[in-house]
Structures are given as structure tokens and as C-alpha cells.
């Protein structure tokens, strides 16, 4: 049958069959865990009764409700949203640049957005931070485009340029933060290491708005992005306006990554690590890769935040330290495997 050989050429179909249920179950377990665990341990029974009370079943005890719904729930959702966004933009950048080492924060978009976000805080608090992050993220993305144009010739050059750009911009985050009023602008470790400690429903709402728009836009490019694997000229021969698509994706990536920085600072290595983990399980086609990277990215940051909260209890460590501790070694390993590095 014609259908049979067609189907059998999809190498990842068996793996995908169990991938999705496993990830969704893991995600639910991680969600319940992070609602229950922390400085005050809430029994799972109380967590469940808080959740059911929200859909109109029963009444929740007051003290667990304020912890579970008032503090931990927005933190959980923000962690998931940030992780999903970073996983998505990481996978998209890697597809666009044909380079597994691409990551928005490694390429300097994170620190660049942090400058804008810190300045935005002075102007307009939390919303200003997110808007500033979006704007500065897009600008940094365009700075990167200069290097990205040579990506097909020398990918390592793009990465090295991005790392240098990131170092310079990180220094400038310091100048902005130390020059600003400490009462209004969060400290430098928030911007460069990332933290979900300040998560509120308000931050969640604002960043969610930006992310919905940019992520929605980015997800329309799935099939087009596959063609970049053939090379930029081949993609153009097949009808892709490669300049336009590259520009649009870089705007989207800069805006989305910038919004996460405005909300929680730079949570590094998520965009690098997650696509790397997910590809062997769902394949290279962006139709499967992008949603998978979103779910696993969300899961990764939720778990990372859980570790950040309970590892050195009662001290809370920045979530970016946890993601970097896991992601850094993977980056080094990937780098050592490259033939051209």
C-alpha cells in the first residue's frame, strides 16, 4: 500500500506515541509537587481541595489557599510560561541558524533585554520591565542578525560573536542596575540569574499577553522552518522569502525572550538544553519539535524552580543557577562534539 511506506518513513512515530502522555503526566506531577512543597509544606489533600474549590466544588481552608493560590499558583504558571517560551525560541533559533548551539540568552538577547527591562522598571514598574524587555530583546536580535547572515558559512562565528555580545551587554546591565535607585530596580542577580520569587498574578497576566502574541506568530512558521535545514538558497528556491522569514522570526524570538526577561530575568540554557533533549524523541520536524520543546521547557523550569526553592531551604537560590548547572555541561559536550569548533 502506498500509505504503508509513507508512514514507515516517519522514524519517530513510535517514540512520539509515548512521549506526549509521559510528558503530560510528568508536568501534572511537577505542578502538584510545586504547589505542595516549599517553605510551608501543604499536604496534597489541601492542594487538591484548593484547586477543586476554584471550579466550585467544596470550600478551601483559608491558610493553604493563600499559599497555594495566592503565591504558588502564579509562580507555577509563570515558570511554565517562561520555560515553554524559552524552549520554543531556542528550537526556532537553532532551526533558523542550522546550529544546535544557538540559544537566545547565550547569543546575548537575554542580557540585552535585561538592560531594557531594568530601564523599563524605572519608567513603569513591572509592566515597564516587560515592555522594556520586549523592546530591547528585539533590538539585540537585530544586532545579532548581522552575525546571523553569515551563519551558513561559519556557525561557530555566530556563537562566539553572540557570547561576546552577551558579555558586553551583561556588563551594561550592571551599569544600569548600580546606577539606578535600589528601591525601584531589582538587584543584578535577579536580572542575570533569573528568579520566579516575585511572581504575581499581575506579572503573569502582562507577560502572558506578550507571549501569546509572539508565540502565536512564531508557531505559524513551523513548516517553513523545516526548509531552512536544506540551506538558505534551497529554501528560497522552494518559495521561502528567507530574508523576510529570518527577520520576522528574529523579531518574534527577541520579543518573546525579552518578555520573559522582563518578568523573571535571564533563565539561561533552557533554550539550548530543551530542543537537544527533545529532538531524539520527537524528531526534527518543527511541527512536532516546537510543541514538544514548549512542554518540556515548561516542565524544566517548573522543576528547576522547585529545586531552587527547596535545595538550600530556607534560602532560595535563583532558578537560573539551577538551569545553568544542568545546561552548562550539555553545552560543553555539544561544543566538544562539533567538527568545526
Amino acid at each position: 500500500m502506498a500509505e504503508a511506506w509513507y508512514q514507515s518513513a516517519d522514524l519517530y512515530r513510535h517514540r512520539r506515541r509515548w512521549f506526549w502522555p509521559v510528558v503530560i503526566i510528568a508536568l501534572l506531577a511537577a505542578a502538584l509537587g510545586s504547589l505542595a512543597a516549599g517553605a510551608v509544606d501543604v499536604p496534597l489533600r489541601d492542594v487538591v481541595s484548593v484547586l477543586t474549590s476554584k471550579i466550585g466544588i467544596g470550600n478551601a481552608p483559608v491558610q493553604p489557599e493563600s499559599v497555594v493560590w495566592g503565591i504558588r499558583m502564579p509562580r507555577l504558571l509563570l515558570g511554565f510560561t517562561v520555560g515553554a517560551t524559552l524552549g520554543l525560541v531556542g528550537a526556532m533559533l537553532q532551526g533558523l541558524l542550522r546550529n544546535d548551539l544557538a540559544d537566545p540568552h547565550l547569543l546575548g538577547i537575554g542580557p540585552g533585554a535585561a538592560i531594557g527591562a531594568a530601564l523599563g522598571t524605572v519608567a513603569g514598574g513591572v509592566r515597564g520591565a516587560i515592555a522594556g524587555g520586549v523592546l530591547a530583546g528585539v533590538l539585540t536580535s537585530f544586532a545579532l542578525r548581522r552575525f546571523a547572515r553569515r551563519a551558513s558559512i561559519d556557525p561557530t562565528r555566530v556563537i562566539l560573536s553572540g557570547v561576546a555580545l552577551g558579555a558586553v551587554l551583561s556588563a551594561w546591565v550592571g551599569f544600569v542596575v548600580f546606577g539606578a535607585d535600589r528601591a525601584t530596580v531589582p538587584p543584578i542577580e535577579f536580572w542575570l540569574l533569573g528568579s520566579l520569587a516575585g511572581a504575581t498574578w499581575r506579572i503573569l497576566g502582562t507577560s502572558f499577553f506578550f507571549l501569546l502574541v509572539t508565540v502565536g506568530g512564531l508557531l505559524t512558521a513551523t513548516r517553513t522552518l523545516d526548509l531552512f535545514a536544506l540551506g538558505e538558497s534551497e529554501a528560497r528556491h522552494l518559495g521561502v522569502d528567507t530574508r523576510l522569514v529570518t527577520t520576522m522570526i528574529l523579531i518574534g524570538v527577541g520579543a518573546a525572550a525579552g518578555a520573559t526577561v522582563g518578568a523573571v530575568g535571564v533563565v539561561s540554557f533552557v533554550g539550548l538544553l530543551v530542543p537537544f533533549l527533545v529532538r531524539p524523541l520527537v524528531g526534527y520536524s518543527h511541527r512536532h519539535l516546537l510543541p514538544a520543546a514548549m512542554l518540556v521547557g515548561g516542565l524544566f523550569v517548573v522543576l528547576g524552580d522547585l529545586v531552587a526553592r527547596i535545595a538550600l531551604e530556607p534560602v532560595e537560590i535563583p532558578v537560573g543557577l539551577v538551569t545553568a548547572a544542568v545546561g552548562g555541561p550539555v553545552f560543553l559536550w555539544l561544543l566538544s562534539r562539533r567538527r568545526d569548533a
Binding site: A2, A229, G231, E234, L238, G239, D241, Y284, S285
Partner: protein, 272 residues
């Protein structure tokens, strides 16, 4: 309905101060295979890249079907011409089937687009190029010859009336070379116009309707293989003495290189 599949007039292209293409006119009819020949640096690939729309000529104009190349969107262009580039990426992580499937991309928003239509085109393309058994293999793991055939299948799936091929047979063994050349003839038999750059003069001799012989960015000779494959002309263009005989079974010109001094001092003693 134009009777020419494509028409290029007055093409000039200069890069880095040197004129790579000087005043070239070329057109092709549906059903025709045009071989572009010439020594290294003659401008063959540059000409193909101009025709494909990759490079913008300094002057001159190119029409493919009803489209003027400058005014066409990438998708419009992809529906009327397909391109096999020389030395494309080999480390593609997608399967052969996925790569061939990408050939259908320009048709995704056609009014009559359907999954069945795409699959039929893909299947025909892969059967003809003998790549069905490679469908589930990752492109990067295929041999050079297999990769060329998969790319050929991708181009066939694109179903464009004009096809540009830059050295499509270079990486192939003799059997697969003949196979790809027969497929090129079949594309022409389906009414497409194929323009291909070759190094193998005899492949062009047997399979092309018309040969365009280039040197120094200009067309030195153009016409049927019998007319263009002339020893004096080839000798001066390639700076290599040649003789032309008649192929014993195919009847077309058979080009052979000979020694500078007429064979008086062979590089290797003839084996007895």
C-alpha cells in the same frame, strides 16, 4: 501561453571588478534539454544562478513562463522553476521522504492542493529516481549518489515547468549517471524545459537537444551536439586537443581527449 519556457536577454553580471557574464542571450522551449558546457570559470554556474533568480543581473531581463523574474514573489518563482545547486548541504537531519516532501512546499496554498495530490507527486518522483527504499533513511547518512537522486526527486515533486540543474551527475557512478540522465530526458518528455550544467561532454552529446558552449562569460557556440562538438572548437575552448568520433551504438558524437603531441610520447607505456 508563451512558446518559450524561459527567455533571457542581454544578461551581464560583474562581481569583484571582473565581468563573469558578458552579454548572454538564452531561451528554452518546453520539452527541451539544454546542456551548458565550458571549462572551469567559463561562467556556467553564474549563468544558472542568474536564470534561477539567485543573482540579479547588472542588465538584461529574464522571463520564465509569464513571470518577469524581478517582479515575482519567491512562491510564484518556485512554481515555475526548480533548482539543483552544486554542493548543497549534506548534513540534513531529515529523512529522504521529508526532503522530497519539501518539494511540495510551493504548492501548499494552491486552490487545488490536497494531501493525495502531494503524495502522488512524491511517490512518482521517488519511484522514478529509485529512492523509495531510501524513504525512511536520514539524508545525512546517504551516499553522495543517493543524496543526488533524492534531491532530483525533490525537484521532480516540485513539478515546475523549468528545471535548472548544476552538475547533476558529478557525484554519480556510471549506472546512476545514466539513470539520472534518462530521468532528465523524461522530464523533457513531460513537457518541461531542463537546463543543466555538465562537465561530461559525452553525456551532453547523447542526452541534450542543444548545447550551449561557454568560455570567458560568453556563449562561444550554440546548437545541436553534432554542430557544437567539433574538435577544433572544443580544442580552442578547453585548451586541450580532442578528437570527435561517432559513438558505435548511439550514433551521437563521441569526444575523446588526445595528447598534445599527437600521441608520440604516451604518459604511460601501452600495456601489451
Amino acid at each position: 501561453m508563451p512558446d518559450q519556457a524561459f527567455i533571457a536577454t542581454g544578461l551581464r553580471y560583474t562581481a569583484g571588478g571582473s565581468a563573469l557574464i558578458k552579454e548572454v542571450d538564452l531561451s528554452g522551449a518546453p520539452g527541451e534539454v539544454i546542456a551548458v558546457l565550458g571549462p572551469n570559470g567559463a561562467g556556467k554556474s553564474t549563468l544558472l544562478r542568474l536564470l534561477a533568480g539567485d543573482l540579479r543581473p547588472d542588465s538584461g531581463s529574464i522571463r520564465i513562463g509569464d513571470l518577469t523574474i524581478d517582479d515575482a514573489t519567491p512562491v510564484e518563482l518556485a512554481k515555475v522553476r526548480s533548482v539543483m545547486r552544486q554542493g548543497g548541504n549534506t548534513d540534513i537531519p531529515f529523512t529522504a521522504l521529508a526532503v522530497v516532501e519539501m518539494g511540495r512546499y510551493p504548492h501548499r496554498n494552491d486552490p487545488d492542493a490536497s494531501l493525495e495530490k502531494d503524495r502522488a507527486a512524491i511517490q512518482v518522483a521517488m519511484e522514478r529516481t529509485d529512492t523509495i527504499h531510501l524513504a525512511g533513511r536520514v539524508f545525512a547518512t546517504l551516499s553522495g549518489g543517493e543524496q543526488t537522486r533524492v534531491v532530483m526527486a525533490r525537484i521532480m515533486a516540485q513539478e515546475s515547468p523549468v528545471v535548472f540543474l548544476d552538475e547533476p551527475t558529478t557525484a554519480l557512478d556510471v549506472a546512476h549517471q545514466e539513470r539520472v540522465l534518462r530521468e532528465i530526458r523524461r522530464l523533457a518528455a513531460d513537457g518541461r524545459c531542463v537546463v543543466a550544467v555538465f562537465h561530461d561532454l559525452n553525456a551532453a552529446s547523447f542526452y541534450a537537444d542543444r548545447i550551449v558552449l561557454m568560455a570567458n562569460g560568453e556563449v562561444r557556440a550554440e546548437g545541436t551536439p553534432t554542430r557544437v562538438l567539433h574538435p577544433d572548437l572544443l580544442g580552442s575552448v578547453y585548451r586541450q586537443p580532442m578528437v570527435v568520433q561517432t559513438h558505435p551504438t548511439r550514433g551521437c558524437p563521441l569526444v575523446l581527449t588526445v595528447d598534445e603531441d599527437g600521441g608520440l610520447s604516451p604518459p604511460r607505456s601501452p600495456q601489451m
